[in-house]
Symmetry: C2
Subunit: 354 residues, 2 copies
């Protein structure tokens, strides 16, 4: 190819040449991708065919690939396998679409213990274009494997919609909490909720289920809105939990040491603190939040203890669980979706410690 | 909106709030956007309806917006106007999709006399996400105005395809000619051709015509391949001309002072020189190309004179004109496309001085 060795260096775009490479290993939990397969199994039951599973795996990979750590040839490679291990869980160093760009915009140094893609030698800002290529590649895959399906247009529109929502969430996050300019007056629980819903919940929770529903032939608009009404709050809860674990999770269990306080993250914890603290405590927070300094971080953590933020979290968790359970109980299965899809998710997520 | 004033600062994304703003003015020649309208007029002749023109203008804007200087609300704003001046030609300072990212990747400072979007205060790397949002917005427009058409899927696929081609061209350009690492051994006329075809010709030449063909109801695959076979070489010629004018155009006519030599650009001129020079001349070129230094630039320009590159260009221009004219003469109009579409393009482009 005219890209020669450079392309091999400048991968994610190695997608063009690598399809014959040895079996790669992958990082991340791949929950989003696996959800497509799991949801389709629930919706189709024993009628599910190998062909359907094959296609569900491809869609699973397109989700992971937008959101996680795997480039295109690997998607194809795994999709061709038929064993239930077609989606595996070991580490590689490539990273995808949103994450490549996110790391540049956040000036991050590492992701999952590896240098960020744009930090590698000979990559730099070319990573931006690599991100665009990864995105484009999703549509190439969709055309190749789904053009002949009844739900091809809906598939394309779903990806367009979810991508756009994610970008809006990303935008609000970036302008609310730039790492180099701490200003807590920009934060609020409402803004946190908007960011979380748009930046995370749509692509992590709604997308995989909606993909499986399209595959299962669900056409009723109400089925999709019921799914959205449950999965968006569920995704919101998931991210709140992530914010909570960043501060209170055991590093040896969550696999990292939390840095949200030092990184000026618009975390659920700080937003809840902001609406609960006295003017004096607010001064402490303004002074210490977002500082790359472990003493400042300790002061913020002490403030969280002083206002007993853990109890606030437990109450939120209970309330969220109760509300979402009530919504699931009311799901109208005649629209084509099943309660079990959502209870499966609930069980995986609630009270997790990692 | 939860974006508040920040969104207004962080535009391109002002697309979300600006639709009621006063009539904006626009930069750039808008040739690509206007081509959609012009081509549809040729294909539909006197049968063309106001409705069709309205939709052609919307598609024209989506093209400009991917490639030129205008954000979404302005697209919508103009599309709603029905006068033939719905596409106008004055300056604004916003910039689109590919260009936003290109300027970051090239570390550029200005575009059309304005600071690059990412150089503006409070923008910075958020510009990457703005680029993604601009891209996403194209699909929102397409869904809003074209979902009910017969050619909606083809429209989406055309955009996906052309975007991907452009990104591949961009990638090869970036890894072949990084501004900070001059290595002429990476250059070759074949690589130049690939870059030009993928990075420029697809979206600037094939895309507008293919869009109009879809609107006109052209379904025959041969019509599209004939169009591609003519428009890709035409786009290639256009870019060669651009490279030529960068060095030999009159600054007061082309509106800028060329910087390709100082910027280490993989220009047609340097690639032609590389295959024509002696080993001694090669040493001169290696020493002076891509240096931010007007003496070095003058040495390269002298070398171009020594090998009479202008004659090489004139010969290329003649050959290109003859070959493309011959292809146009052979166009099979029964497929649904018309020769006039291509002769119009030829007449606008050949022997242009700006
Ligand atoms: Mg980040
Ligand atoms: Mg981020
Ligand atoms: Mg976190
Ligand atoms: Mg540039
Ligand atoms: Mg460039
Ligand atoms: Mg030029």
């Amino acid at each position: 190819t005219p890209f020669g060795d450079h392309l091999r260096i400048t991968a994610p775009a190695l997608l063009l040449t690598l399809s014959s490479s040895p079996r790669p290993t992958l990082a991340g939990k791949l929950n989003r991708g696996l959800s497509v397969v799991d949801t389709l199994r629930i919706l189709r039951g024993d009628n599910i065919t190998d062909e359907e599973l094959f296609h569900a795996r491809i869609l699973g990979w397109t989700v992971e690939w937008v959101s996680s750590n795997c480039p295109l040839p690997r998607v194809l490679f795994f999709a061709r396998e038929t064993s239930s291990h077609a989606i595996t869980r070991d580490p590689i160093q490539l990273q995808a679409f949103f994450l490549v760009a996110d790391d540049i915009m956040d000036s991050s140094y590492t992701r999952r213990g590896q240098p960020c893609w744009f930090r590698k030698e000979n990559v730099g800002m070319v990573a931006i274009n690599d991100g665009f290529i990864l995105e484009s590649s999703v549509y190439i895959i969709l055309k190749k494997y789904f053009k002949k399906t009844q739900y091809y247009v809906e598939l394309l529109e779903l990806y367009h919609e979810v991508t756009f929502q994610t970008e809006l969430g990303q935008l609000l996050d970036l302008i609310t909490a730039p790492e180099d300019n701490v200003d807590l007056s920009r934060f609020s629980p409402a803004k946190h909720q908007f960011i979380v819903i748009f930046k995370t919940a749509y692509y992590s929770f709604y997308l995989p289920v909606a993909l499986a529903m399209l595959m299962a032939g669900v056409k009723n608009e109400n089925a999709y809105s019921q799914a959205r009404d449950i999965l968006i709050p569920l995704g919101e809860y998931f991210q709140v939990q992530d914010d909570y674990l960043d501060c209170y999770g055991a590093p040896e269990v969550i696999g990292k040491i939390g840095t949200d306080i030092q990184d000026n993250k618009c975390s659920w914890l700080v937003n809840q603190a902001l609406v609960r603290i006295t003017p004096e405590q607010r001064k402490i927070l303004d002074q210490h939040y977002g500082k790359k300094d472990s003493k400042a971080e300790a002061a913020v953590k002490q403030l969280y203890i002083d206002i007993d933020i853990e109890s606030v979290y437990k109450a939120y968790e209970e309330k969220s669980y109760t509300e979402i359970s009530a919504m699931i109980a009311k799901v109208d299965e005649s629209t084509g979706v099943k309660k079990e899809v959502f209870t499966e998710y609930m069980n995986k997520i609630y009270k997790r410690t990692k």
